[in-house]
């Protein structure tokens, strides 16, 4: 007995000692200096995956559907980008270039596009891509039987015609966004029904296996028409929970994890990893329900804008990483992005209180910020905002809810006061970021309603001239800022931890992770 207890306490003491050992070693780490590593871990050469030319990438959320027409989660699209391609595809510079089509001819009136099928493009199953596959892929997302698969952006299509190796798509009205929309209609084999369990596309990587909530394995597709991938095999590991990914990196199980917070990256040994910084390309804001009291009053909304110091939010919740924004647009869309709006409201508590008094809230008011609890960055932002708003006499409380509830109550039923989320554009056009604030638009969950905005929006969507459209988009941005539709905060930083030796990470202006450029240094 004594021995048992002794052994048990010894184990416990050892564990504690080790733990405090870990703790004291790391005490100077917060500065994250690349200091000398005392007994350091796995450099590139030791990594067995560098030898076999493989890589493991950690992701925080499981894939929803592997069928490209059903996937809706941003995290799924981000990865499946490597397996699928449309007639055209995006580049890291934000351009749209031919992919499965080798040539695109746009008619002068902008009402028809002719896509020439690239020669020698093969599906992952070895079959050559044929015209019927193109028709099937586009039609399925345009008017297919399955409503869930339809892409709203393709509703401008009037007809799809085939002549030889040319696919002609006629539009009912000219659209500057058409190419970007057709980019998301991935080319898949006609009438192939097993996309869900054995997806087949034309991208540089092909599907090998998948275990739900565990992993997805991809392999280089050797018959790829373009620049082939460099790594032989890439495994995506699903690790939910903030500490799992960090532990995975530290223990050597993972080589790359994107979308980390600075709190997470400081835990990594700077000798074993480099931290690459991109931006998430989203508009993070305190989104206000413009139909709900007191946010139906523009003065109250403006008061909030004056009360919130964006830089303080970025400093406190994101350790300084992030680009402050003043409207519903981020810098990657440089053509549309109006930087001058960022400092339209600067911290001014006097002004905020003045506006609140004018609006009839001299003593401030109480408000609730509903946040999806699975998104730590948004929860942290909310926590900081509560603090900042307190200074202006506004008593805010954070209300974490689970994702299903958030989608239904906040996004679907608009039954909320304020929320924090990040809005993105998944197809390289600025339209998505602005269109949603039209008063009649279905996904305008903030209930923003402004006559001038609606008129400008209608004009912008009709405009065929690019310069004119750009001007109108900028006017929309200004409208959102001046009327303080929401408290715009920032474009969040995308911190990517990459194991030393793994090179070639490229950032895109849309939410994708291109694995075909990654390789191990020789």
């Amino acid at each position: 007995m004594k021995k048992r207890i002794f052994a048990l306490s010894l184990v416990l003491a050892m564990a504690l000692a080790l733990f405090t050992g870990c703790g004291s070693q790391s005490a100077p780490a917060p500065s994250a200096e690349p200091s000398a590593e005392p007994e350091q871990t796995a450099p590139a050469q030791e990594n067995p995956r560098a030898k076999t030319n493989e890589a493991n990438i950690g992701i925080a959320q499981d894939f929803d559907s592997l069928d490209p027409d059903y996937m809706t989660a941003a995290g799924t699209k981000e990865i499946l980008f490597n397996m699928f391609e449309g007639l055209v595809k995006p580049t890291s510079d934000g351009e749209i270039v031919p992919a499965v089509a080798s040539e695109i001819v746009k008619s002068d009136d902008g009402l028809s596009y002719a896509f020439t099928l690239r020669e020698g493009v093969k599906f992952h199953n070895g079959d050559p891509v044929e015209m019927q596959d193109l028709v099937y892929s586009v039609e399925r997302r345009w008017t297919g039987d399955d409503t869930a698969a339809q892409l709203a952006a393709l509703s401008v299509i009037e007809a799809v015609e085939v002549e030889g190796n040319v696919l002609t798509i006629r539009l009912s009205e000219p659209s500057n966004e058409f190419l970007a929309a057709v980019m998301n209609a991935y080319i898949i084999p006609a009438d192939y029904t097993e996309q869900e369990t054995a997806p087949v596309g034309t991208g540089p990587y092909k599907f090998v296996s998948r275990a739900v909530q565990d992993s997805l394995v991809l392999e280089r597709f050797d018959d790829y028409w373009g620049t082939p991938g460099k790594l032989d095999k890439v495994t995506f590991k699903v690790l939910e929970g903030a500490e799992g990914l960090v532990l995975g990196l530290q223990s050597g199980a993972l080589d790359l994890v994107a979308h980390l917070s600075s709190d997470q990256t400081v835990q990594l040994d700077s000798g074993a990893f480099k931290i690459e910084e991109g931006s998430m390309n989203l508009v993070q804001a305190l989104y206000l329900n413009n139909a709900e009291k007191p946010f139906d009053d523009v003065r109250v909304r403006q008061a909030l804008c004056y009360a919130v110091d964006k830089q303080a939010v970025i400093d406190l919740a994101f350790d300084g990483y992030g680009i402050p924004l003043g409207t519903s647009m981020f810098p990657s869309f440089s053509k549309y992005y109006d930087e001058s709006l960022t400092d339209y409201y600067t911290l001014n508590l006097e002004k905020a209180k003045e506006l609140l008094t004018e609006a009839g809230y001299p003593d401030g008011f109480e408000m609730t910020i509903t946040v999806p609890s699975n998104y730590t960055p948004h929860v942290n932002t909310a926590t900081v905002l509560v603090e900042l708003l307190r200074e202006a006499g506004i008593k805010a409380t954070v209300q974490p809810v689970d994702w299903g509830t958030w989608l239904e109550d906040v996004y679907g039923n608009r039954n909320f006061q304020s929320t924090i989320t990040g809005l993105t554009s998944d197809n390289m056009t600025a339209r998505k970021l602005l269109e949603r604030f039209g008063s009649e638009v279905g996904n305008n969950f903030t209930n923003y309603s402004n006559v001038e905005y609606d008129e400008t929006l209608a004009k912008a969507l009709r405009a065929t001239d690019d310069a004119e459209q750009t001007e109108l988009y900028r006017a929309l941005e200004r409208n959102l800022t001046e009327n303080a539709a929401n408290v715009y905060l920032q474009d969040m930083a995308d911190l990517v931890a990459v194991r030393s030796g793994l090179e070639g990470l490229t950032f895109y202006p849309i939410y994708v992770l291109d694995i075909s450029t990654l390789s191990w240094a020789k």
């Binding site: 007995m1 004594k2 048992r4 207890i5 048990l8 306490s9 416990l12 564990a15 080790l18 733990f19 870990c22 871990t41 493991n56 950690g58 499981d62 929803d64 559907s65 069928d67 059903y70 809706t72 989660a73 409503t147 869930a148 339809q150 709203a152 869900e196 369990t197 275990a211 739900v212 909530q213 565990d214 590991k237 699903v238 690790l239 939910e240 929970g241 500490e243 799992g244 990914l245 532990l247 995975g248 990196l249 530290q250 223990s251 050597g252 199980a253 993972l254 699975n374 689970d402 994702w403 299903g404 509830t405 989608l407 239904e408 109550d409 996004y411 679907g412 998944d426 279905g442 996904n443």
Partner: protein, 326 residues
């Protein structure tokens, strides 16, 4: 009818009732909880038409009871349904995870039973004097350690410093059985430490209060060997509470494993359950919950059988209960 057969039938009946009850409660819960599976499937870009079409396709626009009955009909004909989020048959998604969770739970349970029962008995014999304090302190300390805290601790010490296993890289039972078991073993330790302490304490205090009962005092004063009294009578009587407690522990282990699975990156059932609830993936949740119900009844039955073997008085009362119930 023989008692054994009667007992079996009764237990099967209980199983059926519990599973029906738990599945119905789950269905009811989803009816009341806000959140729409169609919306979680289609995400933020869904149009109202798409939502309506999908709801119809999934049968979500049918009345509540009808949906429950059709699920039930499917269940009894061996069709567990198709996951909403993954668009794949539920059983295929769950089977592998169930296996892992069973391994984790059973390993923890074996650890708990094998360590705590002897330790509890010895802990009783180890009473009095100054040894009491460290024993009690250690026991209380072990109870106070949250499994997920131990999990983090183990990940750091054994995963990152000592590299005995790799947190975040679960090998998979098929690929590397030994490594998988090693990985699960750490989870099992995290899960079992506080429960071992609880069981030890439970056993000890039951033995002590039993030893103070009149019959024991009489037996000892009549000159019976203290040790014989302990093993023959006291332990037997004390075991009833302990076995019940262990049965309860076994039932709870699956649920308690969720956080440990999360921390150590074990792709088990618990983690899947939480995400599925969050995504309102009813068919998956429904199936997992029924499995859990099955598990709970199984654990209860096991505890019951063991107790009856130990203490025949209980067998009598069960027979009575059976008579009253039928």
């Amino acid at each position: 009818m023989s008692t054994a057969l009667q007992y079996t039938l009764k237990r099967l009946g209980l199983l059926l009732v519990t599973m029906l009850l738990v599945s119905f409660l789950t269905f009811l819960a989803f009816e009341l909880v806000s959140g729409d599976p169609a919306r979680t499937m289609l995400g933020t870009e869904a149009t109202p038409q798409q939502l309506t079409a999908l709801r119809h396709e999934l049968g979500l626009d049918r009345p509540f009871l009808l949906r429950y009955l059709s699920w039930l009909a499917g269940f009894f004909s061996g069709n567990l349904g198709t996951s909403y989020s993954y668009r794949q048959p539920v059983w295929g998604l769950i089977a592998g995870k169930l296996e892992l969770t069973l391994w984790l739970s059973l390993m923890s349970f074996v650890l708990i039973a094998v360590i705590s029962i002897p330790l509890g008995i010895f802990s009783y014999r180890f009473t009095g004097g100054f040894a009491n304090w460290p024993r009690t302190a250690l026991n209380q300390l072990c109870m106070a350690v949250p499994p997920f805290f131990t999990g983090i601790l183990f990940s750091w010490c054994f995963g990152i410093v000592l590299r005995v296993f790799t947190p975040g890289d679960f090998p998979g039972l098929r690929e590397d059985f030994a490594a998988s078991l090693r990985h699960l073993f750490f989870g099992a330790i995290c899960l079992s430490i506080p429960r071992i302490a609880m069981t030890v304490r439970m056993l000890r205090s039951t033995v002590i209060s039993e030893m103070n009962k009149a019959y024991v005092r009489t037996a000892i004063s009549r000159g019976n060997d203290r040790r014989t009294v302990l093993t023959r009578h006291v332990l037997k009587n004390s075991m009833v509470s302990v076995v019940t407690f262990l049965g309860q522990t076994l039932a709870e282990l699956v649920g308690a494993g969720i956080v440990v699975e999360q921390v150590l990156g074990i792709p088990g059932l618990g983690r899947f359950l939480v995400t599925s609830i969050s995504h309102r993936d009813y068919p998956v949740v429904q199936t997992i919950v029924v499995i859990l119900g099955f598990w709970v009844v199984l654990a209860g039955t096991a505890a019951d059988l063991v107790n009856q073997a130990i203490d025949p008085r209980l067998r009598l009362s069960t027979a009575e209960l059976g008579g009253a119930g039928s």
